[in-house]
Structures are given as C-alpha cells and as structure tokens.
Amino acid sequence: MAKRVAMIAVAQNAGTESKDNFYDQAYRVTKEVLDKAGMTRDDIQTIVSASSDVFHGGISCANSYYWETTGAFLKNASRQDGESLFALFYGAMRIMTGHYDTALVISLCKGSENPPLDTCTLMYSDPFYFRNVGLTETLAAALQMRLYMEKYRISEEQCAKVAVKNLRNALGNPYAHKKGRFTVEDVINSERIADPLTEMQCAPKSEGMVATILVSEEKAKKYTNKPVWIKGFGSSIDSYGIGDRELLNGQLRQAAKRAYKMAGIKNPLEDIDMAEVTEPYAFQELLWCEDLGFCRKGQGGKMIDSGMTEKNGEMPVNPSGGVLANNPYVSRGLQRAVEAFLQIRGEAGERQVEKKVKTALAHGVHGFAGQCHAVAILGR
C-alpha cells in the first residue's frame, strides 16, 4: 500500500498588486511556509513548483528564473506547467515512492505583470482554426453558459448568485483580490464581456504565490499534531476541439471518480464537509457542483437557490470567495487546497465555516470550457 502524505503548513500572499517583485514575493512565501512548518531549507528534500511560461509570466522556462528563490538550489526539483494542483499531486507522488520524506510545493503567478487573461488563453488556440475566430477561455465559457441555461433552464439570476455569494464570502478573506456586498442586479448589469457573461461573473487577474509543505507519515508527527492528509487525487483531460465535446458532460466526473475512489468516498454530499472549487466563470460553480455529485444533473440552479452552498449551508462551496474573488491563474488550484487545509484545521479565521470540517475537496480546472480537471480530497 502506498505511503500516506500529509500537508503540514501553508502560505499564500494577497491577490492585489504587490510592490514586491516576483523574486521577493516568491522568496517571502517560501520563507513563510518553512517558518510555519518549523523547517529550514535543509529539511526540504525535493521541490515541485507550478508556473506557466511567457504568456503567464513573461519569461520562458519560468522555473529557470525563480529556481533559487523557491529554495531549490542544488535540490532535486521539478515543475508542472499551467495548473498547480498537479504540482501537489506530483509532490505527493514523490513522497509516496519512499524516495523523499519532505517536499515543498509552490505555485507562482504574478498577475499584475501579465497580459490580460484572455491574451494568454488565446494562445491555447491552435493557429489554424480557433485562433482566427478568437477562441479564448471566456468565449468558450460563454458558449458553455448559454448551453447550460438553455438545456437545464438555469436563469441568469441563478448564475449571478454565485458571484454575489463568493464576493460576499471574500469579505472574510484577507488574501482576496475582489470582495464586497453586491446584488444579483449589480452582477447582471455589469459590463457584458461575452454574452451572457458579465464582468462580475468573470474572475479577475490576481497575484498569487501559494505554498505548502508535504511530509511522509513517518515524519508528520515530528512537525505537527494537526496533519492534513492527502486522501485522494484524480484528474482527467477532454478532447481539444470544443465542437467535439459535450460541454455539459465533461471530464470532471472522471477526475472526481478517481479521487473519490482513492479516498474511499461513496456519497460525496455526506462524506465531504466543504469544497473549494475553481470557478473562473460564475455559472461554472453550479456545473462543477453537479459533476462533483453535490446535486443531480441540471439541478445547479436549484442548489444555489436553496442556500446549500452558502458559508453556513449543508455543503459550503468557496467560503474563501473562490476564484471570482482571487484568480492567480496558475496558482488557483493549489490555493483551493490551501483554503481546504485551513478549514480542516479550523484556522480559516473569519471565513471558517460553522460546521466541523473533517474532509474537504479542492478542485482545479484550466482549458476551454473545462478541458482539464483536477480534484484533491483532504482530510483529518
């Protein structure tokens, strides 16, 4: 049986523009997570980072640039490109092999220095067909949202409610980039970005250096009496062409199934206490919750109306404010895991949910209309 892996400490910085440069920001978060774990660089045996090249960072081979600031000098380290939950998985795998007992996982993204998000996501488009029609993540999401509304009679108001909830939740999150008390009308009447998506239903472009330290079961006791275990993880990728896919029946079910199987979760609504999901577009939180098994297919609208996903509901979703409040593109998946960690430990401050959290879910997604999903289950 594979070895168990625990998260023992986390650190992140605020999503608003920082006057620190990339190097300093990365260094501070690395130092903070080491201090919180009671470790020095010497205690870390391997490092896995997540980042993205040129279009999300301005420098090719991004890990060349920040190598030593993440403590990786003369260490065995590697990197995942594009989505940071994969770095968490890779760090965990390295420990599961028995080669390593300690790993630092860090994701780096300085949104304020990057071009607009969709300038970057346009570069996912192949140069022959999609790029010429200007296909971006926002455009793909708008098509997906229209389909979702028409097929399941989900209203614009129900989608907007996700933004209202998450931006209100973000009031309790000192790291959140966007926050506030807004009405459904505010959200719907904000600028139309790609019909039916409005500005407040699209995530901002934020800063985010996010880090955690993983240790093997043997070493966990040495460092903490409150380990958070990585109980399961799974991912899945869909076909590239959005016309080739069922946009309302994507790969999240597969990714979740794999993570649930590994974690021994049979009934997600009962076995999971709260979830942090990546919802770069408001309606996606509803769609993803369906795929995660929190409600039946097409019932996402009714779910948000019921208040079930509110901070003190039956299944709190994104009490941190989620990605609508804070969107350091590459780092957002790992940030979800960090928030889940804090909830499990009861250290989420003002955003701590009322119910006791024993098991939590973190979700990451990137690509057109959710081409690639990753799910992690964390627990006590």
């Binding site: 065995n76 995942q80 890779y90 899945s236 990728i237 690639c372």
Partner: protein
C-alpha cells in the same frame, strides 16, 4: 525504494524538417509507434505525461490541451512537466515517480517539439530575464561558448587539442547517425570540415552545434506487475537524479559543474554505481555542443577533470571504445528539444534491451541517459538496466 519501474516500449518519429505533418500529427506518429512497439492500446494506459519547450517555441501555450487527442489521452489523468531543455528527462522522471508511487501501473510519457515552426534562438533569449542577462545571453550558443572557454582556461588545455577533440566528436557522431533510422542530420564530415565550418560563437563552429529538428518521442513506463503480466523485455529504471542551480549565469561554477556532478551522483547512488566508466555500458549524454559533451564526461565521472580531450582523441567514448557515448548520433544530430531528453531515455532503453538495431552496443546491460536545461542550470539523469 518505491515500486520497481521499467520501460517496456518506445516510439519515435522520423526526426527532421517535417513539413509533411502538422504538430499534432507529429505527436500522434510517436504515440502510435509506441503502441505498435508494445502491442498495447490507449485503453491500457493509466495516465499520460506531456512536455515541451516553452510556449514561445511554436506559439502555442499549454500544448497538452492541443495534443490531448493526438496523445490518446482523452479521459485520462494527465501531468504536464516542463523544465526547459531538460524537459525530456523530467517527463521520464514524472512517469517514473507516478508508477513507483503506486498511483498508476502504465504511464505514457510524450515529449515533442516542432522547431521549424518557430525561432528557437529567439525563444531561448526569452529565458533570460529582461533587465540584465537578456542583453548578452541571447540564445544557446553564447552560454555554451562561455562555458567552453571557462573550461579550457581552467585546466590550461591547449586550444588545438580541444579543437581536435571537439572535431573528433563531431565526426564520430555524424558517422553514428547513419546507423540511426530516426536521426535528423546524416552528413559525412571530416575533421577538416568541422574545423573549417562557419563560426557561430567562438570557439563553436556550425558542425559543433545541433540542428533545429521536428520530432516527438513516446515511452511507456510500467510497474513490475505489468512487466510480468505483459511479458515484455524491460529496461528497469535503476537510478533517477536531478539538480538545478542559480539562474544568474555568473553565480555558479560551470566547469566543476555541481548540478551535473550531483545529479549523476544521486542516480549512481541509487543504482549502486561506483566506477561509471567501467560499470556503464553506454551513455546517451545530452550534447547539443561538442565542447560541452566533454565537460559532461568529466562531471559524470567518466574521467578526471580536464582529462576528457585526451580520452576522446584515444577513442574511449566511440562505439568501439571503453564507454560508448551517443551511439545514436545524439543531440548533435537530432534536437527536437522537448523530446530530446526523452529520446536519450528511449535510446538507453533500446540499448539495454538489445533493440537498438544497427547502432546496438553489443551486450549493453547498463545505460545512462541525460538532459540539460535552463541557462546552463539543470541536469537530469536516468540510469536504465537490463536487470532490476
């Protein structure tokens, strides 16, 4: 440590200037080749690791999206590993850790690059940050020329000797490439041809440098259970090493190059190798530049520091020598960067399973595969053996 892992099949494209295929078609060619080699189908695969050079290279970001179908990865768990030039070995290592962790039994690793659709040197210039280094570190040859100069100056090696040794490496590797059906550059060259070829950045000349290639490579990693079940001849992963160092070029010693020395040492320790020149049967060293190849021989402990030009000229590292290096023709003759490190791993696997064809080193049982990347920063090593 961990569960044992073996390579059970490899697939390569015919590398070169592949204007006959699109980038996804190129990827598909390698992936279909590994399925043909193993008799497996995409349904058998538990996970896929993908990787390439940065998005500037072909102007497409996060290529695992674009190639999901070509890699036969739809509906499967995926990882996207990137570490600049060492990407190929890092992909192999990701697949290794994935299987070794117990989270998968069969993992497909795919590396790819279509360099003729972009400008590789412009891309590599964007690896250097825009404030200080970008002004003088543009592209790869500048960095490696400086490293070569530091190396010869440190040991006081006569200029003529290093020139001759580098030319000898170029001649033998170009000859070797004729026996590798997948190699890109197939050119008969003489010592004089190399020494009289166009200067790129002193002392590096055109025939001291790798080409821009289009190519992809796919490798299947399997758990011990699957090796037994499928009855495939395995190339066991015996050692896995990786090290990286400072970003700013002047901050670390590139002659006694710790990233290379320690990466090799980590892999040797796992494989129980004490005397690499004696114990290894063949090495696939990442050699985009002839001069740098000699520096690697020294850092990997194939010879003493400063000794490599003498041994090269004696033929120690040729196909008939004591430790044959790059019998495939190596990176010098074929360099689709994101695939290159994985091609080194694939070639090492072919050698220890006796399937390397015309460039087989007879009786090879233990092989080293290597890749290097970043601003002369990263080194990754994988040791493969016919026995566990």
């Amino acid at each position: 440590m961990g569960r044992p892992v073996a390579i059970i099949g490899v697939g390569q494209t015919y590398h070169g200037r592949r204007m006959d295929v699109s980038y996804p078609e190129l990827v598909r060619e390698a992936v279909m080749a590994v399925f043909k080699d193993t008799g497996l189908t995409p349904d058998d695969i538990d996970g896929v690791v993908s990787g390439t050079m940065p998005s500037m290279m072909e102007g497409i970001a996060l290529t695992h999206f674009y190639f999901a179908d070509a890699m036969q990865a739809v509906g499967k768990p995926i990882m996207k590993t990137e570490t600049c030039g060492s990407t190929g070995v890092s992909i192999a290592q990701t697949a290794y850790y994935w299987v070794s962790s117990g989270a998968a039994d069969l993992v497909l690793a795919v590396g790819h690059e279509k360099m003729n659709e972009g400008n590789s040197q412009a891309t590599m210039t964007t690896v250097a940050e825009p404030f200080y280094q970008r002004y003088f570190i543009s592209g790869a040859p500048g960095v490696f020329s400086m490293q070569s100069q530091m190396w010869t100056a440190r040991y006081g090696i006569p200029e003529e000797k290093t020139r001759d040794a580098a030319a000898f490496i170029s001649v033998t590797h170009h000859d070797d490439a004729f026996d590798n059906p997948y190699a890109h550059i197939k050119l008969k060259v003489s010592m004089e041809d190399v020494k009289n070829s166009r200067i790129i950045t002193y002392p590096v000349r055109l025939l001291d440098v790798c080409p821009n290639s289009d190519g992809a490579c796919a490798v299947i990693f399997a758990s011990e259970k699957m090796v037994k079940k499928l009855k495939k001849k395995p190339a066991w992963v015996r050692g896995v090493g990786y090290r990286g160092e400072e970003y700013f070029f002047g901050d670390s010693d590139k002659v006694v190059w710790e990233a290379a020395i320690q990466a090799a040492q980590q892999a040797y320790d796992q494989a129980g190798i004490r005397n690499p020149r004696k114990e290894l049967d063949v090495a696939e060293v990442y050699n985009p530049f002839t001069f740098q190849e000699m520096l690697f021989y020294e850092c990997f402990g194939f010879c003493e520091l400063g000794e490599s030009p003498d041994l090269v000229l004696k033929g120690t590292f040729t196909r008939k020598g004591e430790l044959p290096c790059d019998p495939s023709g190596g990176t010098l003759c074929t360099n689709p960067i994101g695939a290159t490190g994985l091609i080194r791993v694939a070639e090492a696997a072919l050698q220890v399973t006796g399937k390397a064809g015309a460039h087989q080193i007879p009786g090879a049982k233990l092989a080293l595969a290597h890749a290097m990347g970043g601003v002369d920063q990263f080194n990754g090593i994988m040791i493969l053996g016919s026995e566990l």
